[in-house]
Symmetry: C2
Subunit: 445 residues, 2 copies
Amino acid sequence: MVIIKNIQILPLNNMNKRKKINIAIVGLGNIGSYFYKYIVKNKKNLINKTKFDINKIYISARNINKKRSFKINKSIFLKNYLDVAKKKDINVIIELIGGSEGAAKKLVFSALRNKKHVITANKALIAKYGDQLSIIAEKNNVNLEFEAAVCAGVPIIRTLKEGLISNKNNKIYGIFNGTSNYILSTMDQKSLNFKEALYNAQTLGYAEAKPLSDLNGDDVASKLKILSSLSFNTYINNKISIEGIKNVDKDDIYNANLLGYKIKLLGVAEYEKNKIIQRVHPALIKKGSYVSNIDGVLNAVIIESNQLGQTVLQGEGAGPGATTSALVSDLCSVLRGNIKYPFVLPSKKRSRGNFKDISEKKFSAYFRLDVKDKHGVLSNITNILSKNGVSVKRLIQKPMKTKKNSSIVIITHNSDNRSLIKSINILQKKKYLINKPKFIRIEDI
Amino acid sequence: MVIIKNIQILPLNNMNKRKKINIAIVGLGNIGSYFYKYIVKNKKNLINKTKFDINKIYISARNINKKRSFKINKSIFLKNYLDVAKKKDINVIIELIGGSEGAAKKLVFSALRNKKHVITANKALIAKYGDQLSIIAEKNNVNLEFEAAVCAGVPIIRTLKEGLISNKNNKIYGIFNGTSNYILSTMDQKSLNFKEALYNAQTLGYAEAKPLSDLNGDDVASKLKILSSLSFNTYINNKISIEGIKNVDKDDIYNANLLGYKIKLLGVAEYEKNKIIQRVHPALIKKGSYVSNIDGVLNAVIIESNQLGQTVLQGEGAGPGATTSALVSDLCSVLRGNIKYPFVLPSKKRSRGNFKDISEKKFSAYFRLDVKDKHGVLSNITNILSKNGVSVKRLIQKPMKTKKNSSIVIITHNSDNRSLIKSINILQKKKYLINKPKFIRIEDI
């Protein structure tokens, strides 16, 4: 190292001297198996792009004897996943167990404490323990990489942390869940009801057997918390409003179409009057707009910043191929020696942020009230809305298939979220309602 | 460094020990000035995200006394830009002179030879000398970064080199020039002719006083060569077909609209039968498709790969803010010690690639022939097309404003590029033509 008047020339890690490292893959499900096979097949090609050679690939999974499409040499199999974190000749651990607690949590905490680089596809873990894990990684000067945890094939984490590092972001939003987007698109395009579309998605492998977190918004919420934290340089914050797509039915999609909208499940984190709001909910979006055209299992992320206006990233958000693309990108970053703070800034420089809940935010909204077609019902409804500060922009009443019932569709003017919810709660108790009232926000994007 | 049975633990560059480095900005035009002010203002914030402290910012420009919106302390001003490359206490040089020859070329070659990290926004230089520069950078183990050279605010270089590093790409294409896209969009939306739209763009600062390379396709060609090389792991290749937008007029835009198309200037690099074709030309694109909706100064890049299907990046492609975003992203990468091969692979591992020219490729195309309305003209035209292997899918003949003349618009079936060009060349010589015949390819994207 040349020292000139207290200035040091950057240390040049000579790329020509190849160092050897060992990696361990923990968890051999759908993703893990695909990733393992990819690495074995493409090792040489990857090595060309980095400064380190991959020497040995260890594997740990629940059962070595499970039927697999490939053979596992016993010499690379580690029976106890927790040994992986302590094994001295392992440098990088790829955690593909999943879940925010239990084995995944134990492994990742232990690995970072033992100064191993960690790569994970586990959004629930990062959304819950990312801040704590980050502190350990920084202290021990190892990488904690989680590109695969958010929108898989869309390189949004790397883009926020590196490509757009100079940005002051005002808003980040988009479609972050391929399963629910596929279901909503199919309900729309093939006129299916929710159950049929879900079954369709499961048959094609776009939805798991137990797709709860995809449908109730939790999956999007985990991703949004991570994105929001990276976009605004804050710690991960749990103040977030979460609604899934389970209440959206065929009639809502039909009505939305008539009114010129598509229904999409959105994740949004944005500054409003110097405070950050995080929210996950289905929304009516004008047909023809960019987000309305994102169909099927695609994901899209839109970042709004002072410096760049709008930046958009779109791509495949799930599946073994897309997830492997993200994992390999993380692995190559580690193998290049690109040590960086997991959340861009050192933990102590990140801020708490000033978060507020959704209640004060104003929305125009779609209400659907299926009612008994009796005298006075309509006036009672409009009366309730008016009393609660919700004014009607558009109202359509149409007879339902079952005679003597009507479906009333209302588009409201901009009203604060609290008033909208309050109105729905009051309406919900009315005896003239024959179904649960529907309430979907309208998003002008 | 701990050595275990020939396995070395990754060297951990301790992020907590802050090293100081000096940078130099060479060229203080529109971009240089904005970037300098940005760095001065945001130095502290940037430093938090990297392992190095920026100690001193040197500047070199043609004239220190030129009127500027900020003051330059003489102690940081270097009169001779070539001194910058040799000055011992400078670690990173940001080249913002521009042009593939002359000062920029001398500076960058000299800087890399003197083991300085180089960041440049110079697409012409990289497209012409990128391969040579890359060899020097690798030999001296310094970075050569050029995110700002391609689509400015869209982090496509970093995404290809890092985020999508695992991909085998089949095609990369999109809208890479904001100026020409702005002109085409304005001609369409405001029914302006080319000159009016250009004047408009110049007034708003979206086109330079001499916008030649924006309009003749050269700017897109430079970007495409770089993207193609990064996408397919080949050396930069000059086999490329280039057409600009200067021949597109108001009538073509009007006709395109009638037929359900928009006209966009595309850059496309793609594998076709194991060979790579590079091409830049205006194209008719179906209305409602993603690319047809990219309006104004926006840029969009679409990558098609075996692993991920389609990945899209969209954002601001020009201007000081967007370019600074890219430069800062490069600077932070250098300041993080993220040394990498400028073109992903080591130079000797890149391939020559197998490139072929556009002539064998098949296109459906739009012809416009403004002709004297005489007997036999139409049959002569269709005869020429037929003889040259071009078959007509759709033909519209309409009278022109000047009586006795007609405009014949033809959409052809898929025909190879050679036949299309040959037909146009024959038609061009016919005395019944009153204007130069028009030929625009149709792109099914």
